[in-house]
Structures are given as structure tokens and as C-alpha cells.
Symmetry: C2
Subunit: 229 residues, 2 copies
């Protein structure tokens, strides 16, 4: 049917426009932050008229909401896949780290928006961010609960706190990269990051006996004399 075909084509063009504007919004948002993100800038970035933004989106709120949901949804589903896979804890953690750093490698700008703007600024008031954090932390908490049930988690560790620590480690590492406090070009630091994150989280930062000359006893005395430099 010609009518159907035409309307389909029209709809496709509509979707293209929407995506153009959405991408422009990510761009501006990443560059200028929440406060500096004016609809006028988004329109200019997208190369369309000011009013058109309001033809495709109800208001600024909805637009930014969508920017967030798109990005977060993608990230979240990968995290969920990783956390809910049937694999050893070690592998799951490794995959979570991989998802995060891979996302940064592919789209630093998008990660910037998620990590710096949405994670730390009130967009829809607070509900959004709260929901988002609750979502990841919930998924990861359940992962640790299952790991504990299987005996993969060291005794005495609270799954919810493990989740906060794991996700916090990931998020702050990404923040470091995004802010330029950690340089991804430094000796493949980015690649190293996901390995170290997994390794440190699973086995800790403490020197092992073979690292140094002293034997370390985990259950030994807490205070060990240390020479000042």
C-alpha cells in the first residue's frame, strides 16, 4: 500500500530527526553540563530550529530524561547480563568491569554524561538518579547474594556493601578517566584498569607473602611497626 509505505517512510524520517536531536542533546550535555545545556544550544548543534525541539519532545525535562534513559538503559542491560550470567563470581566481576571500561573506550562522551552529569546532578529532582542507583546496586547485590549462597564470597561480607564497593570502584575509576585525572594513554592504563579492578576486588590490595621479604599473617597482630621514610 502506498499510504502505508509513505507513512512508514515518514515515520522513519521522524525517528531520524528525533535521533539527531537526541544525539545533539548528548553532545551539548556532555560539553556544557546540566546547567549549560540550553535548548537553543541543542537546536543549533542539531542544525534545526529552536521550535522543532518542542515538536519532537514535550519539554526540556523529557528530552534530558530520554538522553539519560537511552544511555543508562544500554549500560544497565549489559551490567545485568554480566551479573545474572551463570558463571563464577570472578568472571562476572570481570565482565562488569569490562562493560564499564569498554563503554568508555567506545563512547567517552556518553559515559561522561552518565557518570558526571546524571550520577551527580538532580535532573528530575532526585527520583531518577535514585532509581538508577537502586537498580544497579540491586542487581549487583543479588549477584553477591547468590555468590554467597554458593560459597564464592568470603564469610562476613554483606552483599549490599559489596555491591556499593564494586560499583563505586567502577564509577570512580571512570570518573578519573573522564576528568582526565587518570590518563587512558598512560601505558594502557585503561586496559590495565579492568584487570586490576577484578583482581583487587577479589584478592585485595594487601601484599602477599611472596611480594616482600616478610611473611604476612592475615590473622596476625594488626599493628606492625613500619619504618618512616
Amino acid at each position: 500500500m502506498a499510504g502505508t509505505k509513505a507513512s512508514t517512510a515518514a515515520e522513519a524520517r521522524d525517528q531520524d530527526r528525533r535521533k539527531t536531536i537526541l544525539r545533539a542533546a548528548v553532545e551539548v550535555f556532555a560539553r556544557k553540563g546540566y546547567h549549560g545545556c540550553r535548548i537553543a544550544d541543542v537546536a543549533r548543534e542539531a542544525g534545526v530550529a529552536y521550535g522543532l525541539v518542542y515538536h519532537y519532545f514535550k519539554n526540556k525535562e523529557e528530552l534530558l530524561q530520554l538522553v539519560f534513559e537511552t544511555g543508562w538503559g544500554g549500560f544497565m542491560s549489559r551490567i545485568r547480563d554480566a551479573a545474572e550470567a551463570s558463571a563464577p563470581l570472578e568472571q562476572k566481576i570481570h565482565r562488569i568491569a569490562q562493560v564499564a571500561f569498554e563503554a568508555y573506550r567506545i563512547d567517552p562522551r556518553g559515559v561522561r554524561v552518565l557518570v558526571l552529569e546524571f550520577a551527580r546532578s538532580p535532573s528530575t529532582g532526585e527520583a531518577n538518579r535514585r532509581t538508577a542507583f537502586a537498580e544497579v546496586l540491586g542487581v549487583i547485590t543479588r549477584m553477591f547474594e547468590r555468590a554467597r549462597a554458593r560459597g564464592e564470597l568470603r564469610a562476613g561480607l554483606e552483599p549490599a556493601l559489596c555491591a556499593a564497593m564494586l560499583f563505586g570502584s567502577v564509577e570512580m575509576s571512570l570518573t578519573g578517566f573522564v576528568m582526565g585525572l587518570l590518563d587512558p594513554r598512560d601505558s594502557g592504563l585503561l586496559a590495565h584498569a579492568q584487570e586490576q579492578l577484578t583482581s583487587l576486588f577479589l584478592d585485595g590490595a594487601r601484599a602477599t607473602p611472596e611480594d616482600g621479604r616478610w611473611k604476612k599473617d592475615r590473622s596476625g597482630p594488626r599493628l606492625k611497626p613500619v619504618r618512616r621514610s
Copy 2:
């Protein structure tokens, strides 16, 4: 001298006023976030006239800047004390966790502002946060560098990444509490948190041999068959 005494008294009253307004600003900021934080609200909260705020502070920017600096400065100096003490790594990490959770226990509202709102203003907000993060991460990175030099850090760990992971763990745990995703009343979770943070960071999440029935070998095969539930 009477003149001096009078001017001193006047200055003291001035400082009181300033502090009243500053405290009101923290309050409103914590309650409504950056967007909802209007000078009118701060004035009402402090019980003074709108215009008086501008008698004591140059503008909104300066006021919020000061709110941030006050809180962050206190937090930062405690973190610095902990990180630069001459003590074993274990103790330093424990103290860092302690500083953070203690701060939350004493002043959840203040922590809320630092953790969630983090002075963001159009022009200098970004720079601020960047500086603040660079500052903590720098201090903690140096702590890990010294630990590495002393052989207290497991081989192959990048100090800067350790710093990001440690601070990220602290920050996300606090975020969990502040957002109500972690309930401090749940079986003393708050008290538990600082112990677990130290323990997990130093020794990892992996089950130790004595945790389960299987022997776990750290350098063993990465993939271990796990029964699906």
C-alpha cells in the same frame, strides 16, 4: 581599648550572622539540591531578609562555594591526616573509612551535600569538583605509592587505580546510606561498613579455603565449574 573591644564584638556578631546564613544554606542545599536552592529560601531558613544575604556574601556563587569549601575542607584534612600518618597501610585505610562513616553519623546532611550535590555552578562548579577529586585522589594515590615502596602493596597494582577504587568504594557506600538504599539501622550496618570496607579492600571478596568445602587456589584455573541453582 573601647574602640577595639566594640569592633571586636561587632566582628563577632558579623561572624555569627555569616555562620547562621551559611548553616541555612547547607540546610536548604541538602534539602532541595542545587536547583531548588534559592537565595530566598536560604534567607527564610536563616530568618533574615533577602537582601541581607548579599550583605554578607558577594553572590550565590560565593555562598555555595563557601558551603562546599567548608565541608570539603574539613573532610579533606581528616582524610589527609589518615593517609599521611606513619602507620601500616591497613590502619590508614581503616582510618579513611572511619573518617567517612563517622562524618555521616555526625552530619548526614553535610555529607549529603558533599556526596550528592557537590557544589555545581555554571562557571566554577566543574573546576571545583575536578579540583576536589584531584585532591583526594592525589593524596590517596601518594599513600599507595608509599605503601608500594614499602612492600605493603600487592605487586602489579597501580596506585592511582587503587586510589580511585578505595575512594569510589567509600563514596558509593555513603551514597547508598544517604539515598536510603542502605539502611544504617539495619543491624548496625553503618558500623559494619567501615570494617568490611577495610577488610574487603585489603583481602578481597573471594572465599578463602576455610570458607567452603573446596580448596581454592588463587593461581589455579580461572574457570571453575559452578552448579546452576
